[in-house]
Every structure is written in C-alpha cells, then in structure tokens.
C-alpha cells in the first residue's frame, strides 16, 4: 500500500514537472533583449544579458581564453570555493565517521595482485598523473580544469589501491596536501582583500590570452583546486577501503 502510494506520488510529480517543461518556452538567443539584466547596486537596466557579458567581455576582463573557466573561477569564483568545500565536507565526514565506527581486529585476507594488473598500473600511473596535472594547469586554455584534473589524479591512486592491496596512502601526508591546497585558494582570495580589492579579484597581470602564463590568478586557483580535489577523492577511497588514521 505504502509503495503504491509512493509510486503514484512520484508519477504525479514527474507528470507535473514534465508538463511544466512542455509549457516553458524554448530558450532563445542569449543575446535577446528580454534577457537584459537589472543591476541591483546601481538600480539600472543594462543593455546586455549576463551570458552575453561573459561571452563578449570574458576574455578581455579575465584574460582567460576559456570562457567557462573565467566564469567558474572568477565571475562565480565564490561558488567554486563553496563547491570545493562541499567535497571537503563530504571527505571529512567520511573520514570522521569511518574512524569512529570502524570495527577493530578484523583483518581482511589480502590476495596477491594479478601480475598483469600490477605491472600495467606501474606503467600507466606516471602518465595518468601527468595527464591530470596537464588538465588543471591548462584549465584557462583548454576544456577541463581543477575538478576533472584532480579526479584524474585520484583515479591513479585508486588504480594503485586496486593493483597493490598492501598499498596505503599516507593519511597524514594526504591531509597536509589537502590543507595547503585549500588554504592556497582561500589565501589567494584574501590577498585581494589585503590589497584593497574585493575578495578573489585578480591582481596579477593578465598576459596575452591563449598563452600558458596568462589569466592572472586563474591558473593558480586551478592548480590549488586540482591538488585539493585529487587529494580529497583519494582520501575518500582510501578511507572506504579502511586505511590507517
């Protein structure tokens, strides 16, 4: 009975949402005048829309060739600081709960690794780490950035855990990387405040868009995010596996 009611409710919500989406107008050109924004600080209507601003002025204002990156790291950089923190919260929560409720004395049998797996992982690991680092260092130039770059690095460590059952992440060292990469992001933002700018405002030369050393603080932030995401995802997997505290 309860199941039937729940299923019916879920169907109703689905039907409602579907109906709403049918009624919603197909999104038009982002430059359309009806999307022009209103600025709450000056109280005036602008003659551009928000996406239009990002596309037209993004490269000039941020020095980043990749518009998505300029939005993620600068225009909406505060959200990104928050998103990194969401991941950090989840990683800390997992570590906190698993370390308090771990059953002691149980030791799983550790199988010898498959020869192919251990040799193969040894061979690809350096390349995986290199690709991960490449993705987040070039975040302002190519698709990718700190989050995918960090995730790629974490897959390298996951492979190590799979191929070498005795391999253990040094929890203390990982948490040092975690701490310093998170601090780097926050401190890069706080330096702006100390320099009399607003939080996370760029203070480095923007350089020539399209070159590696461009876009001011964006590459620095993405490197910090890369390390942070990489270390956190690795720590989550290691804790789930039952690493040492």
């Amino acid at each position: 009975m309860r199941r039937a009611v729940s299923a019916l409710l879920a169907l109703l919500i689905f039907a409602y949402l579907f109906g709403v989406l049918l009624k919603a107008p197909i999104p038009g050109d982002y430059r359309d005048e009806r999307y022009n924004y209103y600025s709450p600080l000056s109280g005036r209507e602008a003659n551009e829309s928000v996406p239009d601003h990002y596309v037209e002025r993004g490269e000039e204002e941020t020095g980043s060739q990749n518009i998505v990156t300029s939005i993620v790291v600068l225009y909406r950089g505060f959200d990104t600081l928050g998103e990194v923190t969401v991941l950090f919260t989840a990683a800390t929560g997992v570590a906190f709960l698993l370390s308090t409720q771990r059953s002691k004395g149980e030791k799983e049998k550790k199988k010898e690794p498959n020869f192919m797996a251990s040799t193969g992982v040894g061979l690809v690991l350096p390349f995986i780490l290199l690709v991960g680092a490449y993705i987040f260092v070039h975040g302002h130039l190519t698709p990718g950035g700190g989050f995918p770059g960090g995730a790629v690095i974490a897959t390298g460590f996951v492979l190590m855990l799979v191929a070498y059952p005795r391999f253990q992440l040094r929890e203390k060292k990982v948490s040092v990387v975690e701490a310093f990469s998170g601090l780097a992001f926050a401190v890069i933002g706080l330096i702006s405040l100390i320099m009399g700018l607003t939080f996370l405002e760029n203070y480095l030369p923007k350089g020539v868009a399209g070159t590696l050393l461009s876009a001011g603080i964006i590459p620095l932030i993405y490197i910090a995010i890369g390390f942070k995401v990489g270390s956190e995802l690795s720590a989550i997997v290691s804790h789930m596996k039952g690493g040492e505290e």
Partner: protein, 467 residues
Amino acid sequence: MVVHPTLLIVLPLVGAFSVSLIRRYGGGAIKLYGSAYLFLNLIISAVLFMEVRSGGEVTERIAGYSPPVGIFLAVGAVNAVLVLLINLFAAFNYLTFNPKDKEPFHRFTVLYLLGVASSSGIVLTGDLFNMFVFFEIAAVSSYALVASSKDERSVGSAIKYMILGSVGSTFMLISIALIYSELRTLNLYDIAHRIGEMGGAVRTAAFTFLIVGIGVEAEIFPFNGWVPGVYGRSDGNISSFLVLGPSKAAIYAILRVLITLFYGSSSRAVMMDIAMVLGLITLVVGEVAALSEKDPKRMLAFSSIGQMGLILIAISLGSAAGIVAAVFLMVSHASVKSALFLSSDVYRQGGMRYTLTGALSVGAVLGLVGMPPFAGFWGKWYLLSGAADEGLWIVIAAVIFTTAVEAYYLARFLSRGLSMKKRGGVKPTRVITMTVMVGVSLLVGLFASVIYEMVSAGVTTLLSGGI
C-alpha cells in the same frame, strides 16, 4: 565599509582547511584553535551589526564584478541580526564539546566550522545559486555531525535526514534551473525585478520546488519527517547547533524567497497564502505532537517544528509587523530552544533539582512560551498585532491555542526534571553557554527597542524589493 562580510564565510573556511595541521598538539589545542576562529567571527559579525544599525545596508561584491554578472553579499537589517545571532551562539555552543567524546576532534572541528560558515553564507548572500551551494555545505556537515552522536541509532536518523535533504536540494536545483532558463540570471534582486517576465506555470513550479527544497531544512510540514529522529537521538549540543545554525539560516532563506525573490510576481498574494497555510499546519501539528510525546528530546523536536511554523506564519503576513515578529521569534527560538536542548542531556541523566541548569531551564521555558520580558514575548506580541491588523482571526486563535499547549507540555517537562536530583555532573562550559543563551533572550526582550528600531527601519526597503 569597516568590515568585509566575506570574512564571516572565508575565515572559518581557512580555519577548517588548516585545522588538520595542528592535530598533533591534541584536542585542547584544536579546541582553542577552533574557538579562536569562532570568536573572531563573533567580533566581525558584531561590528557588521553595528555598521548596519548606524548606516543601513552593507553590500560587498566578489571578484570585483558588479552583480548580477558576479556574486555579491547583501546585508540588511534582518540578516545583520541573524548573522550576529548565529555566530554568537555557535561560538559558545562549540565550547560545550568535549574533545574526548568526538574523536578525531580535528575532523569534528572542521565539520562544525563549515556548518557555521555555510549558515552565515546562506544568510548573507544575494545570489540564489550561491545560497544553494551553502545549503549543500550546511546539509552535508549536519549529516556527519548528527551521525557522530553517542546514541548509535543517530546514524539511522542521519541517513534518513540525508535522503530527505538530498531530494530537497535536487528540487531546489531544478527550481534554480527553471528560473535561469527563463531569465538568464541568478541574482536574487535581478530575478525579483524581472520575475513578471516569467511564464505563469514555470514560475509556479519554480516557487513550489524552492519552498519544498528549503522546507526540508526549515522543518516545514510535510517535509520535516527527519526532525524527530535527528533531534531525538543526537547529543543535546549537536541538536542545539542545528537549531541555532542551519535551521535558522533555512527559515531566513524562506523569508528571502517570499519577501524578496517573488516581490514582483503577480501571484505573490497566493504564494503568501500558501505559505501561511503551511505555517499554520506546521504550528498546530508540531505542538500537538509535542503534547503526546513522552521522550524529552523528541518533545523538544516537535516543539521546534511548531516554532518554525510560527516563524513561517510571521513571515507570510508580509507586513512590517510580521517581519519584526519573525526576527524576534528567530532570536527567541535560537536562544532558548538551544538552551533547552543543552539541558536535555542533563535531564536524561536523571534530573536537575537545585541546580543552575534547572534554573536556566525554567528561564528558557518561560522564554519559549513567550512570557515577558523575554524575546519570545515580543515575537508573539507583534505576530498577534500583525494578524489583528489584517483580521486574520484564525492565526490569532491558533497562536493562543498552541501557546496554551506549549505551556502545558513544557510545565510537564520542567516538573519532571526538577523533581529528581541530578546524578551525573554538568560541565561548567555547558552552564556558561546556557547562561549566554537565556541571557541573550532576556536582554533582547528587555531592550527590545534596539532591535525593533533597527529592523523596522530596514523593513521599509525590504518590503519594497530592496536589501
């Protein structure tokens, strides 16, 4: 601008990121380190409060872009009061935790600091998506904090909370996507200014999903199934944190949605009526359930639901008196209900006869019922006068009825607690924190004009679509 409101969010983040670096110095050092950030935040929020009180609103852009292209923080009278309240009580509440109970304590401190930072973030931000991000942090840290309680069944409650919370935040995200697809903006005030351009059906769906999403955190009926389990099984000082932090931020988010976000909407009157009905149901269901509940913590949990309903009713009056009432009720609930949750552990140990905890609980109960001169009295007073202005007799009847119910079950709670002698000892930090909480409720009640003048000066701009 004397102080940057961003610091209230960024400094606890810095603390959370760096706390693992000092973990080898032990629990005492970690506690000192965590408290340093929390009390620094308290000072900053007090300065911000004074600034808003003397000069009106404070806004701060992020990354140098003016909104809606960038994100900004918008502090008016109401959220200046609230952010001070959250940071004040969160700092003192942190003192009640014993590092030995919460091993590893550095991780616990991280979760606590993030819970405080995100609650401040929800309250301060002027951007809808930014608010969602802070909701995520607040929710995830709350799940872990609840599961760390001594009662092992708290893990089950935390999982239930997590499932409901995740569904809620999905609804919130769908709502934000609907709004963005129609308006191409995420800024609260930009959306409010142009909400009339949205199609009626999409706007209704966006409103519904937003209320459902925030309603889970704000303990609004029928999205509050997690509340009795979580408050009933968590340690008292974790429940008190949830009451003073995330749930206050969530009910304030409802205020932002009802008063600011849908300011220009043609169907706003209907939306306010729906919120009013939800608030009435939440109030009556919560208080009546509390009456039939024997377990002290679960009783306080149901009572908490009732109080949140009361705040929702005050907000949905939509008038100046309603907003003022909501502010006083939030102050009252965050202070005395947290104090009662702190006393509930002592209560479970056996009783609190002839103790300071007992005396403080009496004060907290009087404050919760709404006796003068506590803050709760002014909350109910302005709520009743606001309802009378609009001829909403059903609200007046519901408030008086539930106050009587509340007085009855709280008296029962007290008479049982005070009739038995305590067995275990009470940590002095817990008594200090309870004193601060009950004291604030009393002081706000005695000097109600300070808050009243500040809020009613800010309410005029708030009700006309401003900050």
